[in-house]
């Protein structure tokens, strides 16, 4: 039988170390909503989302009450809208109408974000894909809860450099379109390489076409718990360090697994995956950077950071994988800048640069995430940064992503305030040497040699 010390340990994690379930994300297929009439398409989408997700928020709250574990977000991901909307949407403006429908449906069911305003163009773009991408700046400026993502490359297909070029411009236009709010629209826009079909985390969540009609995916969290556990092995060797991370990751993931199974049972929707990510928040004691400091670095970004992050990521996976029957999504440690107080401190101390962050993305689960850059950085430079990050993902057969925020009207040294879970961020300097000639070549970068495995 469970003893009092085990009960106390669990409750201490929840009450003092910010253990929570970061998100229950309900993936919904919209493939059966497709219609060639735009109004009918919008009706179908609204009706399906509000029907399938009707009980999502209530179910999440019931589970919170039953186990006294906070479930911070209840969210929805849908089939990439470029696929769903192509038959009806003939212009970017038509796609914006679909974005508004998603926003309305999200508000009706009470979720804070809905992901899937997306296009998958890792090899090339159809006219519909291009129209959706071109509609992103407007779609993100007229909606509140819609999140957008574009997959521009994969290990199997290479990188669509036309899409990379276009996304540099789109990110810039989105920043312009939302400049009244510190270019907040860009915080809801991710560019991916090797995007997973079952990611529960925003802004990059979408419901892949390989998935069934509806599915529950859960993202766990808990950097604070790992940090506290590591305080107990301060100064000990790497074996002790790794063992501690693994055991802690196991415990965190088991809670996620329980919540996922409960949500699945109560809603009558199959369980998909657990995403084993250490997802920080701006709250003190809920930071991945603080774990890196506890491992022995003065700040995240100091020499040794990439190695420390590599072992952290690996041990989280090793501990988590045994705790859940299905693991997927992004699974690893997130290193967003604005959403992690330790990262913000590291940037402000001059310890963490964009180039070091890029190196870190080679060994962690995602990429350049929530990085604020000066608003006058040209689109071609943004495309260059995207291309670098996509190449890391393509060659290393992993997911990489870019969520950059060119803050219009602000420069290096200034700070942007996004509020809530998105936090605040110091504007970081960018290498200003040009890459126009590279980006404007057009076409695609071929898939790497090691992708040919058949």
């Amino acid at each position: 039988m469970i003893n009092i010390w085990e009960v106390k340990e669990t409750n201490k994690m929840i009450e003092q170390e910010n253990l929570d379930v970061r998100t229950i994300t309900l993936g919904i297929s919209l493939l059966d909503c497709i219609d060639s009439d735009l109004q009918k398409l919008n009706e179908n989408i609204y009706n399906k989302i509000t029907r399938v997700a009707a009980g999502l928020v209530k179910t999440g709250e019931e589970i919170e009450r039953n186990y006294c574990i906070p479930i911070v977000n209840k969210r929805i991901s849908v089939t990439p809208i470029a696929l769903v909307g192509q038959a009806a949407c003939k212009t970017p403006k038509d796609f914006v109408e679909v974005a508004k429908t998603l926003d309305r449906a999200a508000k009706t069911v009470g979720v804070n974000f809905i992901g899937g305003y997306s296009a998958l163009v890792s090899k090339g773009m159809t006219k519909g894909d291009r129209d959706l991408i071109c509609s992103i700046p407007q779609a993100l400026s007229v909606t509140e809860r819609v999140c957008s993502s574009v997959n521009v490359g994969s290990t199997k297909t290479g990188i669509d450099m036309d899409a990379v070029k276009l996304m540099g411009e789109i990110i810039h236009k989105t920043a312009e379109a939302t400049k009244e709010n510190d270019s907040l629209g860009c915080a809801k826009l991710v560019v991916f390489c090797n995007a997973p079909d079952d990611n529960p985390f925003m802004a990059g969540a979408f419901h892949g076409v390989t998935e069934e009609d509806a599915i529950i995916n859960v993202g766990v969290s808990g950097p604070g718990v790992v940090k506290k556990a590591l305080e107990q092995v301060r100064g000990e060797n790497f074996e002790a360090l790794c063992e501690t991370i693994k055991k802690t990751a196991f415990k965190i993931t088991r809670v996620g697994q329980l919540v996922a199974q409960e949500a699945s049972r109560r809603m009558g929707v199959p369980f998909g995956i657990i995403d084993l990510s250490l997802a920080p928040t701006p709250a003190v004691g809920d930071s991945v950077a603080e774990i890196l400091e506890e491992i022995g670095l003065e700040y995240a970004g100091a020499p040794g950071t990439t190695a420390a992050l590599a072992l952290l990521n690996d041990q989280v996976k090793k501990g988590g994988i045994m705790a859940s029957s299905y693991v997927g999504g992004l699974s690893g440690a997130f290193i967003p800048v604005s959403e992690d107080q330790g990262m913000i401190d590291a940037v402000e101390a001059g310890a963490l640069t964009l180039e070091k962050l890029e190196a870190m993305t080679c060994v962690c689960s995602v990429g350049l995430d929530m990085v604020a850059i000066p608003g006058d950085v040209p689109p071609a430079t943004i495309s260059g940064i995207i291309a670098d990050e996509m190449a890391i993902g393509m060659v290393n057969q992993k997911t990489t992503a870019v969520r950059l925020i060119p803050v219009i009207g602000k420069g290096v040294g200034e700070t942007v305030e996004f509020g809530g879970l998105l936090g605040h961020a110091p504007v970081m300097p960018v290498n200003r040497h040009g890459c126009e000639g590279f980006i404007s070549r057009g076409g695609r970068i071929p898939a790497p040699i090691h992708s040919f495995k058949n």
Binding site: M1, I2, N3, I4, E6, V7, K8, E9, T10, N11, E62, R65, N66, Y67, C68, I69, K251, R254, V255, Q257, L258
Partner: protein
């Protein structure tokens, strides 16, 4: 067929005072909740109690019991928490 046990962990944490256990147990008895196990300890002057209870015969739904116990705790200056047992089993047992 007899209903399956519905095990819940009640934890009580706070400053030690007369009648904490009595107050909690009275509530449980009045609401058809059976106590299976109690363990208790004092850590740094703080009263820590864990009860394993079976709620299969409870006269009220889980959420309401949890809320009423929480209120009862506030009245006597302790924090009372109800959690279904699975969260602990999942975390601490393979």
């Amino acid at each position: 067929m007899e209903k399956k046990a519905d095990r819940t962990i009640i934890t009580v944490v706070g400053k030690d005072t007369v009648g904490i256990i009595a107050r909690v147990c009275t509530y449980l008895a009045e609401n058809g909740i059976n106590v299976l196990d109690i363990s208790q300890t004092i850590v740094q002057g703080f009263f820590n109690m864990m009860m394993v209870v079976d709620m299969k015969g409870a006269s009220k739904p889980f959420g309401q019991c949890a809320k009423e116990l929480e209120q009862a705790g506030e009245e006597i200056g302790v924090s009372i928490k109800c959690q279904r047992e699975e969260i602990f089993n999942k975390m601490h047992r393979i």
